[in-house]
């Protein structure tokens, strides 16, 4: 279960994209708190700023205004090197289109964040251990038999599961999922949701999931809605699973 102190806090986030004469104000003073161990779903219309918020939380982008704190430490203004390290070790990303690297097989894709973490020397020293860990992760997501397959040889659901294993390889604190089931059929979508729910429940992994699918939000601890770049002031519902637990 999630604690009461927020793990991740965003205050008054503003982000505007400018292209030529066009200014698109995506986030207009968005506030959000994510508690440790929480499974938070974020919904909103297309263009409401969900993905932008996720990118800002995950330090993939920097806000024009406002701030983001991780365990009370401001992270949005950190030097690029520190933000790279945060993305590598603290945050895990899952994308709608999986974004596996086509030059690597499934195992190598999962190992990619670990490869980024380790120097060549350190990699060769810990190679066996890391590979074993990656194989375990893949086994956990049900791809233990597909280690040496290329991404193009996997189905959409399998690719997303591989992407989840990749996001978890460096044992992140927060998993940021951008419409993880958006490109999957219903069965595969539920499979992925179950996997995320299990990770949250049994490994206390904090998850922030952006989705369009209102059916999925019932499997999360809490749901927030973004409207026109601002958080809707009201939590729409108490997630059923949480209500049952209380």
């Amino acid at each position: 279960m999630h604690g009461t102190t927020p793990l991740l806090t965003a205050i008054n986030l503003r982000k505007t994209y400018v292209k030529y004469a066009n200014r698109i104000e995506v986030l207009r003073g968005l506030d959000i708190d994510v508690a440790e161990g929480e499974f938070l779903s974020v919904i909103g219309n297309s263009g409401s700023g969900k993905s932008t918020m996720l990118h800002l939380l995950g330090t993939l982008d920097t806000p024009d205004d406002g701030c983001i704190h991780l365990e009370g430490r401001r992270i949005d203004n950190l030097p690029a090197r520190d933000r790279d390290a945060l993305r590598n070790r603290t945050f895990g990303f899952i994308f709608q289109f999986y974004h596996l690297l086509p030059e690597m097989n499934v195992l190598e894709n999962v190992l990619a964040p670990a490869m980024i973490t380790h120097s060549v020397w350190s990699w060769w020293r810990n190679k066996k251990e890391l590979r074993k860990h990656a194989a375990e992760m893949l086994d956990k997501v049900g791809l233990g038999h597909r280690l040496t397959h290329q991404p193009r040889e996997l189905s959409g659901g399998e690719m997303q599961r591989a992407a989840i294993a990749r996001a978890l390889i460096n044992r992140p604190r927060v998993l940021l999922a951008d419409e993880p089931t958006g490109n999957l059929d219903l069965a595969n979508g539920h499979h992925i949701m179950k996997l995320l729910r299990d990770l949250n429940q049994f490994e206390n992994l904090t998850i922030v999931m952006v989705t369009h699918n209102l059916d999925l939000v019932h499997e999360t601890d809490r749901m927030v809605r973004i409207i026109d770049g601002r958080m809707d002031g009201q939590e729409l519902s108490q997630p059923p699973a949480l209500a049952a637990a209380v």
């Binding site: 982008d61 690029a80 993305r87 974004h99 030059e103 120097s119």
Partner: protein, 517 residues
């Protein structure tokens, strides 16, 4: 680690990269082949020049030479520093002369200017590779100017024939005179009527009478016998070594190939006409016999030089105990500059100049070196063109991989890390291209003559005509350090031209990269 893995995978999976590799490979291979051939030619030329001119040469300022060359050698030998560093020395006398010989082809006497070099065979053979270029005596332990006995006999037979002919003429003349004496004694000899001189016409009768009386009073000239020919003694013919291109002319055969046609053969007689030294230059000449031919491959020498015994040239030019050069062979060639300095001090104030063989042939060697450097620069531009290929192809690959770059950044890869992927990729392309280029270049260089023959067999046209260059094969020399520099240059170019695409990749915004289609 991911950088190495990705650039290796990019190399394996991107066939466009093959174009970069091939262009670098061809550039490096061309550089190696051309450089090796140029080095081969240069080395061959240097070897030829070196063998012909020796390590160090002491030359006289004047064509009249210097006096007592052997005393100068003794001076050098007395210097302990020089003595222990010098292996051999040879005295030579250079002169210009006119050559005459009977051209076998046109059946007429040919006259042409030549450079006559008086040498002492034993000492000259000890200095440089002179002996190796003799066509008939190169295998002999000690080549000589001695005329072979069969040629001597031939010359003796001809001399004897001439002598007998002169003797016969002499005897005929003696017999004629005797007959006249006998006829005079018998009174049979009728004196021819006095001839009227032309200038007598128109003169007075008194004067005519005076001239007539004068003629009658003059006693008849005695019947003097001609000088008797000297008793026969066969001449000792003097041997000469004739430059290959002096004795041969270049012509084209029916197949349009350049061939040598002999105008002079072994044992043919030649006449050299030169001048004595001093203010009253007197033309002098002597006859020699072509006993060998000199073929160094250097047309400057082969087409102009005739070597004769030093003492004969000294005698002919009245240059007793004089020479124009002392050729010096060193034990260690690398000490040549120091030896030259020491000799310059030793002969300070004397009209002599001391040079290393490189200094003596400086302009030619420098011209070759400049030509080689210019060619290298031009060929390196081929690798430069390959660099632009790398720039274009890398830019395409970066565009193609934009989303992957976004993924890597989302996974925590730094901009520097992304840049390193593409720089490593460029480095790897350069290394692989250079490696294959080196293998190709070295293989072609080592088999260039076989390849040349194969091309000639296919096209029917020789690329390298040995008769033109005097080498039977294309000379090549692989210089390992030059190959290393070429490889480093090619790899450097590959890396430099991948900087811009790599920088572009590094500067990609991760969010924009992830959204890239």
């Amino acid at each position: 680690m991911y950088k190495l893995l990705l650039c290796w995978r990019y190399l394996k999976t991107r066939y466009l990269a093959l174009a970069c590799i091939i262009s670098v490979m061809l550039g490096v291979a061309t550089l190696i082949v051309v450089n090796s051939v140029m080095n081969g030619f240069s080395k061959k030329l240097q070897t030829l020049l070196h063998n012909v001119v020796s390590d160090v040469a002491i030359e006289a300022h004047s064509p009249n030479g210097f006096y007592a060359p052997l005393d100068k050698i003794a001076m050098i030998r007395k210097d302990p520093y020089l003595n222990e560093r010098i292996e051999a020395m040879a005295v030579t006398l250079d002169s210009f002369a006119m050559l005459q010989f009977y051209h076998r082809g046109s059946q007429e006497t040919v006259t042409r200017p030549v450079r006559v070099m008086g040498i002492e065979m034993k000492s000259r053979s000890a200095v440089g590779g002179f002996k190796n270029y003799l066509q008939l005596q190169s295998a002999d332990a000690e080549p000589t100017f001695v005329v072979p006995s069969d040629i001597k006999a031939k010359f003796a037979a001809v001399d004897k024939e001439w002598h007998d002919f002169h003797q016969f003429q002499f005897e005929q003349e003696i017999q004629r005179l005797r007959r006249l004496e006998e006829q005079e004694k018998k009174g049979d000899l009728v004196a021819p009527p006095p001839q009227r001189l032309d200038f007598e016409a128109g003169i007075s009768p008194e004067m005519r009478e005076f001239f007539s009386k004068l003629r009658k009073d003059r006693p008849a000239p005695p019947l003097a016998p001609p000088p008797a020919p000297a008793p026969f003694k066969a001449r000792e013919p003097i041997g000469a070594i004739v430059g290959h291109l002096v004795a041969n002319f270049k012509t084209r055969d029916e197949d349009n190939n350049v061939t040598d046609r002999a105008a002079m053969r072994h044992g043919d007689g030649i006449r050299l006409t030169t001048i004595t030294i001093g203010q009253n230059m007197t033309p002098v000449y002597d006859d020699f016999v072509a006993i060998d031919f000199f073929k160094s491959g250097m047309s400057e020498y082969d087409a102009n030089c005739i070597f004769i015994p030093l003492d004969q040239l000294q005698r002919l030019r009245e240059m007793d105990n004089r020479a124009t050069n002392i050729l010096v062979k060193l034990k260690n060639q690398s000490e040549a500059d120091d030896i030259v300095k020491a000799m310059a001090i030793l002969f300070k104030g004397e009209p002599l100049i001391v040079n290393t063989w490189q200094e003596k042939q400086g302009p030619l060697l420098r011209a070759i070196e400049i030509e080689k450097n210019i060619l290298n620069i031009l060929l390196f531009m081929i690798v430069g063109v390959a660099g632009f290929g790398i720039l274009a192809i890398f830019s395409m690959i970066v565009s193609e991989k934009t989303r992957d770059i976004g993924i890597l950044k989302a996974l925590g890869a730094s901009s520097a890390g992304v840049m390193q992927i593409f720089l490593s990729y460029g480095l790897l392309l350069g290394i692989v291209g250079s490696l294959f280029g080196t293998i190709l270049g070295v293989t072609i260089t080592l088999n260039i003559n076989t390849i040349e023959l194969a091309i000639a067999a296919i096209t029917g046209q020789r690329i390298f005509d040995g008769s033109v260059y005097y080498f039977t094969e294309i000379p090549t020399e692989l210089q390992p350090m030059a190959i290393v520099y070429m490889n480093l240059g090619a790899v450097g170019i590959a890396v430099v031209f991948s900087i811009i695409p790599a920088f572009r990749a590094a500067m990609l915004h991760p969010v924009q990269a992830l959204r890239y289609d």
